[in-house]
Symmetry: D2
Subunit: 338 residues, 4 copies
Amino acid sequence: MVIKMRPEATEDEKQDIINFLKDEGLKAHPSQSGGVTLIGITGPLENIDISDLRALDGVEDVVRLTAPYKLVSRHFRQEDTVITFENGVTIGGDKIVVMAGPGAVEGEEQIETAAMICKSMGAKILRGDAFISRTSPYSFQGLEKEGLKLLRQAADNNGMLVISEILDTHHIDDFLKYVDILLVGPRNMQNFELLKGMGNIEKPVMIKRGLSATIDEWLMAAEYVVTGGNHKVMLCERGIRTFEPKTRNTLDISAIPVLKELTHLPIVVDPSRAVGFRDKVIPLARAAAAAGADSIMVEVHPFPEKAQSDKAQQLYPDQFDQLMKETKAIAEAIGRKL
Amino acid sequence: MVIKMRPEATEDEKQDIINFLKDEGLKAHPSQSGGVTLIGITGPLENIDISDLRALDGVEDVVRLTAPYKLVSRHFRQEDTVITFENGVTIGGDKIVVMAGPGAVEGEEQIETAAMICKSMGAKILRGDAFISRTSPYSFQGLEKEGLKLLRQAADNNGMLVISEILDTHHIDDFLKYVDILLVGPRNMQNFELLKGMGNIEKPVMIKRGLSATIDEWLMAAEYVVTGGNHKVMLCERGIRTFEPKTRNTLDISAIPVLKELTHLPIVVDPSRAVGFRDKVIPLARAAAAAGADSIMVEVHPFPEKAQSDKAQQLYPDQFDQLMKETKAIAEAIGRKL
Amino acid sequence: MVIKMRPEATEDEKQDIINFLKDEGLKAHPSQSGGVTLIGITGPLENIDISDLRALDGVEDVVRLTAPYKLVSRHFRQEDTVITFENGVTIGGDKIVVMAGPGAVEGEEQIETAAMICKSMGAKILRGDAFISRTSPYSFQGLEKEGLKLLRQAADNNGMLVISEILDTHHIDDFLKYVDILLVGPRNMQNFELLKGMGNIEKPVMIKRGLSATIDEWLMAAEYVVTGGNHKVMLCERGIRTFEPKTRNTLDISAIPVLKELTHLPIVVDPSRAVGFRDKVIPLARAAAAAGADSIMVEVHPFPEKAQSDKAQQLYPDQFDQLMKETKAIAEAIGRKL
Amino acid sequence: MVIKMRPEATEDEKQDIINFLKDEGLKAHPSQSGGVTLIGITGPLENIDISDLRALDGVEDVVRLTAPYKLVSRHFRQEDTVITFENGVTIGGDKIVVMAGPGAVEGEEQIETAAMICKSMGAKILRGDAFISRTSPYSFQGLEKEGLKLLRQAADNNGMLVISEILDTHHIDDFLKYVDILLVGPRNMQNFELLKGMGNIEKPVMIKRGLSATIDEWLMAAEYVVTGGNHKVMLCERGIRTFEPKTRNTLDISAIPVLKELTHLPIVVDPSRAVGFRDKVIPLARAAAAAGADSIMVEVHPFPEKAQSDKAQQLYPDQFDQLMKETKAIAEAIGRKL
């Protein structure tokens, strides 16, 4: 971190800052030339708030040069985190794992059929929300606990793992019983009480990027979980909000190589939620694989036109089949498997 | 709502859509000319998801022409909602009410001093967070329940009301005991479990706009609370995320007149959180009053440089005094009081 | 400017950077602790490109701590720039000056009537575009040179000054003949050939902020004009592009106090173009005055419903009258005049 | 286009609107139910401005359901536009064409070496700016006309075509003499005078997307050129501005499938300008090819660390070699060539 002093700052102000930094357990490294004083700061910077320094007299600006996160950073751990499940599936290794299933669990037959289809085409993990985060109180809110049970049953019948979104700390016990990967959705990416809850469990957690979250904030959300003791965290890019209305959100494809440099955690991409229209999902899944994603999550419904939510973005089974074939070809072109 | 059919859509597809709409309890109003078919839709539109219609065969686009919210809309209720407290303070009427206090409750002396200062300069409502929503797990997380008690005590000693941010449904009982207005922060604006909880209480709730929330989504968050039975809801603009780095967020001043047209709920503006630097807070408070805000929330600390969070944006007492005087002059210039 | 070295950077890489900086006429100020090397840089930084430094071996990050502009900055010139016209009107002083008139010059009667109305209600400067920047090639493109003549004539008949948008370097001579202030529109804010042209003239220039321009980029556009030798530059905030669809653009009200700190140039606000709907223009004009704008530009048309462009945002004459009265009251409340 | 009337609108207002539409040569299709009146509009909609309709009495909202562009749309022309050059290179067909070269032409040896390298590794088109669009007046502004000559010579010596950015209508003649494809940069995407100039020439034009341009606005910029008579237009996605600071811009990868649906024009992607850091360019080039881009433009410099601009994003020759190999593998995986 570096402080830039105002041109008119006094020697006393500079000394006060150096003393303040000492009190906080930090070291100050002043340098000066041509009337500009810079103070480099080293030490346990994760404890300090950048805005605290901005408030000191004589300070013109403060810039963070080190990342605010630690445990999730590539500096802290060089090798990729690989999350391994009991059935041998691994996320973060050579293989690109596909998570697929309907937007929401709607009934036994629907989820059972979806699981069968997705499994037969190569998906390893079954998705389906039982508690649904809906912007309108008038929309279908999900089958709740009953939905989790149906999801588990459909996955077990088809030899799949289960991922589903958790909305509140009250539901943790039910999720631990029925679900293999707990998904923290974009709207809860900074629900810190929920993140703390995720730090206390042993099952893997997938954190979706908030609609306007920076990559740093997203990594800080992951840091919340890891500091709690749960190292099995994945990050899922699902589009950010921009001014462009032709797509639901703008898939930030660059986030993949950026994250690969910054963190050791596995990276998942969800093109369905990002773009919002099924005919755009396949090219984006290909792009995600080409850019280096470790896993792809897509929405597939046996009968999309009958879906109780997000009809427009759920793939038809034959589209999913095409997606799997094309993404496999891409994976192999870059030396990975699917 | 209006559906635009694809130029190549068949008569059967059109008929299927009309039947689908009937099944959903809606009426279809097709019109056609020059090869373009439009289908107007009327009826209980709040039950329908726009993306469901986009998924139907033959549909090129669907546009919502009616608001997705109902109870919070100006169409539903013409007169302004005025929230009245036992001590006679009202929000939403002629008077611009000021909420002030430190970012966080840090200790008895701090909050007591802050309350005294803010009250003496004209603030009616004391703010201060006891549970703090911090982006870093390494930052000060608040005094929690003890903080709520100190806040209540300081307010009572100075004849003030209390507002504080709630982070999780687990804490509702404590908040009902100590707090007069429950604040749902921007990071929880779409924490729908928390919003449902707010619908079941009788105390007023203030919902801050999410960092990238549209005005429609924000009103839908309010709709969640009101459909639960709690009509005492205020909306607080606190800046949105843009590409501009010179301010923490971009205060959306236009949201004030836009909301005044769309909703009957009172509108609060928080310039401290929006801009992030104390020397910019005063002109923005003036602007908010000039644009028609019903209330202004600002952060004031007896000793900002010693604050445990957000030092850079908390006002010095003499700055708050200046803010009150200047904002009062603005209020009077537009025929209101402060 | 500060360079942060990678943890694994070698002593040779560090030395190479120091030598490179010397060759560029800059001084290096290395400091080190706990494995982190920072190199502060001082000297003529305006000549160096930050991305050049990022490209050097061993560099992890580079941060600019000094502004990239010089002549337009408050450090370079402490006192406010005040632009004075022959008829005594000044922009940048105590008085808030109002520029008003139709979106486009449409004919002699229209612009003459508009001028009379605007003058009678207190506007000093007549606006009206003759060359129109339209997103569609099928829209009305303006009366061109004939429009400039009509604008000049209407202004002269009513004792007003003239401002109009210039689109291309080819038109400079015509503008110098008929116009008092040349307006560079948001779509040309980084048309650097046009900006260079503006640097070679002696008449005042107003630069509107680009739709997604940062404040720094906007000031750099002004720097282009000032380095050319023309110091009579004003900046006009007219809304930035965000994800919010309820307004045409989002008026960045915070830009006013931010610019007041960074630059000595006068600040104009155009609420008409920002919000796009006439009934929201009045509260935003009040807010702009309250936040410290030096001038306000609004669109007024004798018969808005007959306007050939931007009908929805042009004020009716009686609305403009109300705007003037309310903005005057705000101006006086903060110790200015209108 | 559809007009939604206000609930309180009168029959007279409705009739006035219908008459207004008739006068404009349009047909009105009113439908009504439950107090909501909608008026569908058909006819030559490209002539009408949506904000004009918003200004009519009784109108609550107006929504455009048809695209504002015509000649560039897929409805107007079903087959892909394929641009063919004399030497047999085609853009828009099966082959993914690569455009490569330095950010700027800096001298004879530099551009000659760059051309040789790029050609030997498979690039068909040589890029290099001679007139440079720089945000700072203090930065290197290019070799201008001399640069165009050197670029042409290097391309001819190596059997390549030439693309370079044009900044002003004054330079058109020089560009026609030396350049094969004229590039309109993002900062000039809405410089309509320049676009009109591009409509009058016969050489192909590539339009880069503005930093905050919507896809519709971008297509309208292309429409300006095509209505002028020049049909040889390509579109180049190069990143949009968002709140994310880790990349220079956010590459909007979804724009590729969206454009493929909306327009018949070829689509180019420039990952260098989008991301701004060379080590992220390769994965993004792979992603662009995987998503369906027709051409990829990248910056390659013989000695990036000596480049006079944008050092950080220009590829080393061996990186370009890797990019070509990996992108070729992706192209083949989706049935195309490179």
